[in-house]
Amino acid sequence: MAVLVFAENSQGRIKKGALEAVSYAYAFAELLGEDLEAVVLGETDSNPSETLGRYGVKKVFHYDDADLNDFNDQLFTAIVADLVKEEEIPVIVMAQSYDGKALAPRLAARLDAALVSGAVQCPVKDDNGFTVRRSANSGKGIETVLTHRDTVIISVKKNSFGLNVNEADCEVEEVEYDIDMTSSIKIVERVQTTSKVSITEADIVISGGRGFKGPENWGILEEFAEAVGAGTACSKPVSDMDWRPHHEHVGQTGIQIAPNLYIAVGISGAIQHLAGVNSSKNIVVINKDPEAPFFKHADYGIIGDLFEVLPKINEAVRKHKASQA
């Protein structure tokens, strides 16, 4: 009996999104009075106990095998399901990441478990199961659900719980799997379309809309992003017109993000755009139209021409950085 967290291994590293799931799982394990254990699949750059112990993991099941470096939903499901059965684990936690979205439902079907996707708060124990708050209606609502199975799987919405350090003595058990599976899916290539900060993981995201008038004007936005280490995003019209690549499109039909700080520049804030960004903790809106609906959802607003406002902000960022150096 323990809480098991699937600590997602991204090409050798356990990234922030995975560690957030670990922090969530730790809080859940504390609630249940159980130990926190983790499963890591594939080779890692360093001993996984170093990273995971910091966030409260007592034991790591490490399948240190090059065949597991690439995600495969069928094989990963089989391995984790076997481990869960072997260790009699009642609760599994993972990040609601690209891989998590493929793994969690498969695993739930395999184990006949109750799956709560996109959890935003630690569960509460109920007489009949657990109640968990999750994001619904594209961030426009919050749903509280009750689980009805002995096994529970929770995927944690990104940037909703935060990282909490809880130092623990962590041991690693090297394990091997005994599953003979010829996968019908093969990864032939991995294409990196941006070397910049991933917008789903970034603490700060700055986003541009039609107000920029054309792709040639993005320099001032990128200058800001580079100075503070922010991810860059855009509205749907901007990606539809090919001013910016699709993977930067945030909104209802694009990517949903929840950074600590979201800065919307030249975006009016149509309801579809808000659906993708309204989980952001702090929102700054820069728009020359005082009637832009986005201001109703902003924490800070500047009504003005972005081509005058943004350079002033960039100047202030330079001074701020210089004063810190």
Partner: protein, 245 residues
């Protein structure tokens, strides 16, 4: 290619969300329902396969009461050949996934398409569960799909890029923008849709794994602090004071 396209019947993307007084469900008064936008990418890709090769079929499926039939008709107007409604209240992801896999089992679909998520529950649960129940490979969040002989070549979005995957068929694919372009049904399509078959199947047994206790709206913003444009630089100081920069 023989495709099954599973669609959700969801509130229009411009809907201002309100819940019923007991918090148990969405207040649907005045709400327009549409085909899930992501599901529609899969629908169009399936139709394109048929157009390109002149063979195969596109079956569109939705789990829901009779109120989802106009949504299925719209999918027929866009170009699906036939529709299936599984007559059940879509209670939770696992229940819906069981219904779809019970329907699809043995019917030899090459592709089972979904959107990457429904825009009401946003759970991304059903496609992966269906893949597991049918013991099929699953490619999630696909942004590109083409056939090379018997091999499906797919691009799957990952953090900061995409993976190029080769898969055999049958395969379950969840779709998003990039895999196709939405289509607006034309008059001919709308007329033809009226005569296309719509089969109603009764649901198989299934117990929910997760139930809704209540819905609520997120707490409103406390209000916006305005900064004069000529003083824009002071924003940086304010953000830094809050530890945000």
């Amino acid at each position: 290619m023989k495709s099954l396209v599973c669609i959700s019947h969801v509130p229009d993307t411009t809907t201002k969300i309100k819940y019923t007084d007991d918090g148990k469900s969405l207040d649907t008064s005045g709400v327009t329902f549409i085909i899930g936008p992501y599901d529609e990418y899969g629908l169009v890709r399936a139709i394109e396969f048929k157009e390109q090769t002149g063979e195969g079929s596109v079956t569109v499926l939705c789990v829901g009461g009779s109120q989802v039939e106009p949504t299925l008709r719209k999918a027929l107007a866009i170009g699906a050949d036939s529709a299936v409604r599984i007559d059940a209240n879509p209670l939770d992801g696992m229940f819906v996934a069981k219904q779809i896999s019970d329907y699809a089992r043995g019917k030899e679909f090459d592709f089972i398409f979904f959107g990457k998520e429904s825009i009401d529950h946003n759970a991304s649960e059903v496609p992966g569960m269906v893949a597991e129940y049918l013991d099929l490979p699953f490619v999630s969040q696909a942004i590109h799909l083409e056939m090379d002989g018997d091999t499906a070549i797919l691009h799957r979005e990952i953090d900061g890029g995409y993976e190029v995957l080769h898969s055999s068929t049958p395969v379950v694919v969840s779709c998003q923008k990039g895999i196709s372009e939405w289509r607006i049904p034309n008059m001919r399509g709308i007329m033809m849709a009226k005569r296309k078959p719509m089969e109603v199947c009764s649901a198989t047994e299934g117990a929910v794994a997760v139930s809704t206790e209540r819905f609520e709206l997120p707490p409103p913003k406390s209000g916006c602090i305005y900064i004069a444009p000529e003083d824009a630089g002071s924003l940086v100081e304010m953000l830094a004071d809050k530890g945000l920069l």
